[in-house]
């Protein structure tokens, strides 16, 4: 019996291995994502030549429709924001003046800091003096900069937490369910995940009832034509972005979604984390509408070779057996 059981496990292993080796044409999210050179500028209204400004669609009750018009296709084409430190805006919704100056001088955050890239040659916390760092969060960010985000949890196919959901470059949809007073957001990327936003006026759970999760607990309300979502209850298993801005479980995010016209979603998020930053800051970007967009199936976990080649600071595999002294790394191994 034991022999048979071992044989079955080996058989299942072989099937899984063959299935994985068949390959996922898309890279795992995180460190190996291609850069997206054409990012809309920071703040409101960027993005090059605007498409025709069709009016903002609305639901029968007059509420802004943040999703598809019935009978049409479409999805939000979420941009790749690798560094939220370059997306800070002031109370007027415009990029911070010092950030604009740094961008103009081309010295902020190092290569790739403003518009994506692989993060090599990044400047760390000193390159982003507008971020209200605590000493530890600056030090951790420096560490993540030096190793080019090697330990990015999204590279492990773990879900992005907080605003990073709106910065992971795969289509997403917003489905409003006014009859059940909920809004559902579904994401093709970001580990194929969904969010539920309660619109029924409930408060956040308190104390032990608030179970820390990757996405936190979201309650929403409408302020005019803007959907405001208050999120708390994050765990500490995620980063704010690919560049590695850290957060703690004290993170509180206030998101604002608006649709100034049919083709554009404006996203703002105020990051309040007294465990990692000395004061709140707000980040913002636009998300274009893809009129022919539809969500596809994308399973990040499938064939994630990044995970199995990743080694820690001691040169030991993160996953799998630890190497003995003198043993060579596996073929193709090494940090990425």
């Amino acid at each position: 019996m034991r022999k048979g059981m071992r044989g079955m496990l080996l058989g299942v292993s072989a099937v899984i291995f063959i299935a994985a080796a068949a390959g996922n044409p898309r890279p795992p999210q995180g460190a190996s994502e291609p850069s997206q050179a054409a990012q809309p500028p920071v703040g409101r209204g960027g993005g090059g030549a605007p498409p025709p400004a069709l009016p903002t669609p609305r639901l029968p009750d007059g509420t802004v429709n943040l999703g598809r018009v019935p009978g049409e296709k479409g999805a939000w084409r979420v941009p790749y924001i690798t560094n939220m430190g370059m997306r800070l805006v002031g109370s007027d919704g415009q990029p911070l003046p010092e950030l604009r100056q740094a961008q103009a001088a081309g010295r902020a955050a190092g290569p790739g800091g403003a518009a994506g890239g692989d993060g090599t040659g990044r400047g760390g916390a000193k390159a982003e003096p507008w971020i209200p760092w605590m000493p530890w969060s600056a030090a951790v960010y420096d560490y993540n900069s030096r190793n080019n985000s090697k330990y990015d949890p999204e590279g492990y196919c773990l879900p992005p937490g907080g605003p990073r959901l709106m910065a992971t470059p795969y289509p997403m949809e917003i489905i409003q369910l006014p009859e059940s007073r909920r809004i559902i957001m579904i994401f093709e990327g970001a580990t194929h995940i969904w969010r539920e936003i309660y619109m029924d006026g409930r408060p956040h759970p308190e104390d032990d009832a608030l179970n820390p999760t990757y996405l936190g607990h979201s309650v929403g309300r409408w302020e005019g034509d803007t959907l405001v979502i208050d999120v708390v209850g994050f765990n500490e298993n995620s980063w704010l972005d690919y560049f590695g801005h850290p957060h703690t479980d004290k993170l509180h995010v206030v998101e604002r979604f608006s649709r100034p016209n049919k083709n554009m979603l404006h996203y703002e998020a105020t990051v309040i984390d007294p465990g990692a930053y000395t004061r709140p800051f707000t980040i913002a970007w636009d998300v274009p509408w893809d009129a022919n967009g539809e969500l596809q199936e994308y399973i990040c976990q499938e064939n994630n070779q990044f995970l199995y080649r990743l080694v820690d600071d001691f040169g030991q595999p993160i996953f799998g057996p630890r190497r003995q002294p003198g043993e060579l790394p596996a073929r193709g191994g090494g940090p990425r």
Binding site: L9, H247, T248, G275, D313, I318
Partner: protein, 136 residues
């Protein structure tokens, strides 16, 4: 027979879940539960350390339970992030109930990995040895 199949199924689930269960914690590098040891290699003393970052200070307790030692002070030298020097001061008690100062001078290593390590020199009363703690 049913029992064997059930066991096989459970083992398969555990085997499949292994990679997913391994994850790091990316908040304050000291925050969380640590386990390890100090003292002579032939007769080490086990350590369980719970640390909590409240946004201003790191607080905690060593070996929770009847012989717990409260962490009085934790300092981290952030100025040189290649060394991550940590000093932890606590107060324990000996068998007679007399207060015994504890000082751990160490260094955080491998901070981005789930195998984060804190190691250095442990001084408890008049005893001194190396210690190593791994974040659980």
């Amino acid at each position: 027979m049913m029992d064997a199949k059930y066991r096989m199924f459970v083992m398969l689930l555990i085997w499949l879940a292994l990679p997913a269960s391994v994850m790091a914690q990316f908040g304050h590098p000291l925050d969380g539960q640590w386990s390890g040891q100090w003292g002579p290699k032939e007769k080490p003393n086990r350590l369980l350390l719970n640390l909590d970052w409240d946004g201003k200070t790191v607080t905690g307790v060593i070996n929770p339970g009847p012989s717990a030692a409260t962490v009085k002070r934790v300092t981290v030298d952030y100025s040189d992030t290649s060394s991550w020097l940590v000093k932890l001061e606590a107060e324990g008690k000996d068998a007679s109930g007399k207060a015994v100062p504890i000082v751990a001078d160490g260094r955080l290593e491998n901070i981005g990995s789930y195998r984060r390590i804190l190691r250095g020199t442990w001084t408890q009363g008049n005893q001194k040895s190396e210690f190593v703690l791994t974040r659980n």
